[in-house]
């Protein structure tokens, strides 16, 4: 996996500090920059886990019909025109007449509204050759197919049974609610504190004292032989499960005799059925295509709109789009080719690692971070490593720690990272490049971040200056170098949290610039502001050293 930098959204965190990147749970808090939003009101990063989402329109992803929201519910969130999926392979189905004119002539899409030919029409899968005539679904006309089928859905046995159940319970509930309990009184509740809320009304209409429940005060019972009964009248099912062959002996018999697993429909193809249905693959019905929605996204804190798509189904553009990439410098991290490595360790690892890719335990590697400024003004950036774990544990603990294991809490990071310690500039986006104030930035870098000397291995300041610091500046991109010293016993991945702070010129009033979302285009009295955010840098997995060499030092 290529080295990566992900950006932190603090919405899941209980504390402002970012989670240690080696915890599996941290992956939910760090995101690629292009997935993040930025709220100007709150001056904060927002992610897809915290923004509040509103539906601003429905459309069919296949025919792109924009469905009015009033009919979405009745149509069960699915396309009510001519769009169907194959029950076997989920491919889009085509409408074909009974005498297909010829194979392979432009039946690519379902929009066969103009299909000509002889009725009856049926649905056909170009991918797996399923066809709806096999399940007795044919149409007299090639249009409005879904509406024709939906009538069947609405008269499906589950719907009809459901309505009968409602009719069964409704009079009972009406009776009980008139008898007291539209709004439950405290008295009724103290009686049976844990009665389920859903049927509190129902149950309170029934005998209060049930043997074994509450007070165990047996009523004088009229007909002991029948035992106590609730007051619900008998429900007579419209279709009794015992009167069908579904799920019973016929299914067992079928299962006993199958020759191929594929004769039985996959559980995913069956489990949305609430009604006992055939197990057989050959009985599967075509599926109407689920609608998609256009989603607006708002800041969860201030309700400010962050994303607002254009209404048209065909459009992939946005009326408002406050993406974090327009506000935060984008960063990529790279490890130079192995040949470029400046190795200063006392000894190279067991086998010369320079030939093989990856980070080898016991070696030191430079890495480069390229930062791109999206703003129309230059910024000053400062990077620092965010330490998570108190470095007070022995190296043995680090050796014992396994990747993603449970012992990590007491582990010191088995590597040390150096970053340029002072701020460096990045030129503005798409404006004049001729900044020349950079020379002073070179050569002052290279602090001792995390580079406590261990195991007698000294770090050489002058060697470091070649790798740690600003390496290159061009246009609105600045490339800085860092360095990682990997412990002899390191395992797992080299991941660390990096705090990024940048200072920019702020103009608070910028109404006409919203779409572009850049906070600093107009020229007013410049006010400098600093914004900080956390990232997780992943340089990749460590190639552990040979086991036998671990004992020799």
């Amino acid at each position: 996996m290529a080295p990566s930098i992900d950006y932190h959204c603090p919405c899941l965190a209980s504390s402002p500090a970012p989670p240690p990147p080696h915890l599996p749970s941290s992956s939910y808090s760090f995101h690629p920059l292009h997935e993040l939003f930025f709220c100007e009101e709150c001056d904060a990063v927002r992610c897809n886990r915290c923004v509040s989402v509103e539906v601003s329109g429905y459309y069919c992803p296949n025919c792109l019909f924009e469905v009015p929201s009033a009919s979405v519910r009745a149509e069960k969130n699915r396309c009510a025109r001519n769009c169907f999926m194959c029950p076997n392979c989920r491919n889009t189905l085509s409408v074909v007449p009974s005498d297909p004119p010829d194979m392979d002539d432009g039946r690519g899409s379902t929009a066969a509204l103009n299909a000509v030919g002889e009725p009856p029409f049926f649905l056909y899968c170009n991918h797996c050759r399923w066809d709806s005539a096999e399940v007795d679904i044919t149409f007299e006309k090639p249009t409005g197919l879904a509406a024709q089928l939906q009538k069947h859905e609405d008269s499906a046995p589950d719907s009809l049974e459901f309505e009968r159940l409602k009719e069964h319970f409704e009079p009972f509930l009406r009776a009980s609610s008139s008898s007291a309990l539209a709004g439950p009184t405290p008295a009724s509740h103290s009686h049976h504190a844990h009665v389920n809320p859903i049927t509190a009304a129902a149950s309170s209409a029934l005998a209060r004292d049930i043997p074994g429940v509450a007070k165990y005060a047996p009523h004088p019972r009229g007909r002991r032989d029948k035992g106590p009964r609730d007051e619900m009248s008998e429900y007579r099912s419209r279709v009794e499960v015992g009167g069908t062959s579904a799920m019973g002996e016929a299914d067992v018999d079928f299962m006993r005799r199958i020759e191929e697993e594929s004769e039985v429909a996959a559980v995913e193809q069956r489990w949305a059925n609430s009604w006992a249905t055939s197990l057989r693959t050959s009985d599967l019905k075509p599926l109407r295509i689920p609608l998609h929605s256009k989603k607006s996204k708002r800041c969860p804190t201030c309700r400010h709109i962050l994303i607002k798509p254009e209404q048209k189904a065909q459009s992939v553009r946005f009326k408002i789009k406050l993406v974090a990439a327009n506000y935060l410098p984008s960063m990529t991290v790279a490890l130079p080719r192995p040949l470029d490595i400046v190795r200063r360790g006392a000894r190279p690892p067991a086998d010369d690692p320079s030939g093989t890719p990856g980070l080898h335990a016991g070696s030191t590697y430079p890495f480069q971070i390229a930062l791109t400024n999206p703003l129309y003004d230059p910024i000053q950036v400062r990077l620092s490593v965010q330490r998570q774990i108190p470095p007070a544990v022995s190296a043995a603990a680090a050796a014992a720690a396994t990747e993603g294991g449970a012992t990590e809490k007491s582990r010191r990071p088995p590597f040390a990272v150096s970053l340029p310690s002072s701020a460096f500039p990045i030129a503005a986006f798409a404006e004049a490049w001729e900044y020349e104030d950079d020379e002073d930035m070179f050569g002052v870098d290279g602090d001792e971040f995390g580079l406590e000397s261990r195991d007698g291995r000294e770090t050489q300041g002058k060697a470091k200056s070649k790798t740690v610091g600003v390496l290159e500046k061009r246009a609105n991109v600045t490339i800085v170098g860092g360095e990682v010293v990997i412990g002899k016993d390191a395992r797992g991945e080299v991941k660390f949290n990096m705090l990024v702070s940048y200072t920019y010129r702020s103009d608070d009033a910028l109404p006409e610039d919203e779409v572009r979302g850049t906070p600093s285009r107009t020229s007013k009295a410049p006010e400098m502001k600093t914004f900080s955010f956390s990232t997780a840098v992943n340089l990749g997995p460590v190639v552990p050293r040979e086991e036998n060499r671990m004992d020799t030092d």
């Binding site: 886990r49 009809l160 389920n196 809320p197 859903i198 002996e249 697993e261 006992a276 929605s293």
Partner: protein, 597 residues
């Protein structure tokens, strides 16, 4: 090794044609013209009355709108939580963080992708399994109220909701899910929580057992190393024991949901005696009463239970070594495999189920070959893997049938007949074809055979003997009344048996969907007068004065402020009838605490 040995019935083709698929419930009414369209239209606007109904299982979620007969979406969530949490605090915190993040992602998907609706305008009904861990429940509430800003949440008992879906408010409900099978009696819409009984014999155990059986008795054909090899080497030569890596979770799930079913109970027959060695080196089998097949079957499933833990952690080498690692093998070194082989051959003899060949991804070491490997599943494994759910006699792990009966034993005497005649079976594992009819047979068998358990030797030296009394004697008079409401193959009616007339009278909703359908029904009937509004949650979050809550007409006022979410394990349970039997190992007052511990 003989490969495809199971004989097919010659009448195969004819019987397929004869299967009355057209009489299935699903197809019976599809074409009927219906006045129902009108009733659906009534709701055609997205009124805020329609609630979102979520049935959040540990593996599968069902979501939809109230007032509809089926969920809008059903999806797998992998495995969200288990029976155990990490004991160590930092580890548990991390587990919780991951779980919360995953729950959040799924809940957001429910509203934004499955239902395409605004969570801020939707009241939510959560279908709550009685043993849903409290911490999970609180996470769900936190996300729904906090992240999604839902206006209110109702938690409703899954068992009770399932009863609503068959038009009742009284019944004995068995939920055979993934982690546990749970029995809860409900009278007049009140769940009798003190009588709740559970067993770990459920879907996950079935899968583990299936895996063990396939390792021992399945056959694997690696992909041929070259095309010419495929042609030249006979299948029998290529076949080998099933490598562990082949049996991935997905493959096992596939076999479970697409290949497995539940056969009838085996009649006690001469097979058992034939099987038992006459030599006398194995005292266990000599002691067997010939009429009771249970002990040896139990052994059979126990082995797999022992295997299960070993198999998980061991790199696979061969099935044989796994057998030797099982706990039983060292105790009875000469027995192990031979005994299992005898059982396997007995099942083979009694099963007419076809062997199935399925394509599987070969282990990494063999992937140099061409294409996929073949797993041969013996027909008897497809039919008999479920035996593990029906094997009883263990103090810690009652069979599913025993769990039902144990709950019934705890129920006040004058409710027993009513409940015995209205048993409802729900849950994903109950979807196995043949499960419900088999359960009915097992209920009767357990009642009939309970005296003989006294004569049984202990299953294992380290387990206590089963109780020596006639456990279910008091239930024996109820036998004619036993009825499973949703039994698709109700037994023929003996004349005069009034109670069992209920069998098979439930509507043909599937066991897996019943709780969701009941939630939809409850939502559309607007019986949910009591719910937790978001304001209440926000208040509690802000740690405000509980007196401010007086104007909310819900029964939360007697909870301490932080406990906004109603929970039956927090309320003091009512005093029930004195137990008829010594209490079972499950702590009565706080089963949930035990789960969470």
């Amino acid at each position: 090794m003989s490969v495809p040995a199971t004989p097919r019935k010659p009448s195969h083709a004819a019987s397929v044609a004869a299967t009355p698929a057209t009489s299935r419930a699903a197809n019976a009414h599809v074409v009927q013209a219906s006045p129902h369209y009108q009733t659906t239209r009534r709701h055609s606007l997205y009124g805020t009355e329609d609630r979102v109904v979520i049935d959040p299982g540990s593996r599968v979620w069902k979501v939809g709108f109230s007032g509809e007969g089926r969920p809008r979406d059903v999806f797998s969530v992998g495995s969200l939580w288990g029976l155990r949490r990490a004991a160590e605090a930092t580890e548990r915190d991390e587990e919780d963080r991951v779980l919360e993040a995953r729950l959040q992602a799924y809940l957001r998907d429910v509203f934004h992708d499955s239902l395409l609706t605004d969570p801020k305008s939707r009241k939510v009904i959560i279908v709550e399994h009685p043993l849903l861990p409290l911490y999970v429940k609180e996470m769900l509430a936190k996300i729904l109220f906090g992240n999604l800003q839902a206006p209110s949440i109702s938690f409703a008992s899954s068992h009770l909701l399932a009863l609503l879906s068959v038009g009742r408010i009284t019944g004995l409900v068995l939920d055979c899910g993934n982690l546990e099978s749970t029995v809860l009696p409900i009278f007049a819409s009140r769940p009798l929580y003190p009588q709740l009984r559970t067993t770990p014999l459920a879907g996950a155990r079935f899968t583990a057992h299936l895996c063990a059986l396939l390792l021992l008795f399945g056959t694997y054909l690696p992909p041929p190393t070259s095309l010419s090899a495929a042609a030249n080497i006979p299948v029998a030569t290529r076949s080998m024991r099933v490598p562990q890596e082949v049996l991935t979770e997905a493959v096992l799930e596939e076999i479970k949901t697409r290949c497995s079913f539940v056969g009838e109970p085996l009649d006690p027959s001469s097979d058992m005696r034939v099987m038992s060695p006459s030599g006398g080196d194995d005292s266990m089998e000599i002691d067997l009463p010939p009429s009771d097949t249970a002990p040896s079957e139990s052994d059979f499933s126990r082995v797999s239970a022992d295997l299960e833990s070993n198999v998980e952690s061991q790199p696979a080498s061969s099935g044989f070594s796994i057998v030797s690692r099982s706990q039983i093998a060292p105790e009875r070194p000469t027995r192990g495999e031979g005994h299992l082989q005898a059982l396997a051959s007995m099942y083979t003899r009694h099963s007419t189920a076809t062997d199935l060949h399925i394509k599987v991804v070969p282990p990494v070491a063999q992937q140099a070959g061409t294409g996929k490997g073949t797993l041969i599943i013996p027909g008897w494994i497809r039919e008999r893997a479920a035996e593990v759910l029906f094997e009883g006699g263990d103090v810690d792990e009652s069979s599913v049938a025993e769990t039902v009966l144990d709950s019934l034993l705890k129920v006040p005497v004058d409710l027993r007949k009513t409940l015995a005649s209205s048993i409802l079976v729900i849950g994903g594992t109950a979807m196995l074809p043949g499960f419900i009819p088999r359960l009915h047979a097992e209920l009767l068998r357990a009642i009939a055979s309970s005296p003989s358990s006294a004569a049984r030797p202990p299953m294992r030296p380290d387990r206590p003997r089963p109780p020596a009394y006639d456990r279910y004697a008091v239930l024996r008079p109820l036998v004619p009344h036993f009825a499973i409401l949703n039994n698709p193959s109700p037994p023929a009616q003996p004349t005069g048996a009034r109670g069992s007339a209920n069998a098979g009278k439930a509507p043909a909703f599937t066991p897996a969907a019943m709780a969701w359908v009941g939630g939809s029904l409850a939502g559309s009937l607007k019986t949910g007068g009591a719910e937790v509004p978001r304001e209440k949650w926000d208040e509690a979050e802000a740690q405000q004065d509980p007196d401010d809550s007086a104007n909310f007409n819900i029964d939360l006022t007697h909870h301490a402020t932080p406990n906004v979410i109603p929970d039956w394990t927090r309320s003091p349970l009512p005093i029930g009838a004195p137990p008829a039997n010594p209490p079972p190992p499950i702590p009565e007052a706080s089963p949930r605490a035990a789960v969470g511990a």
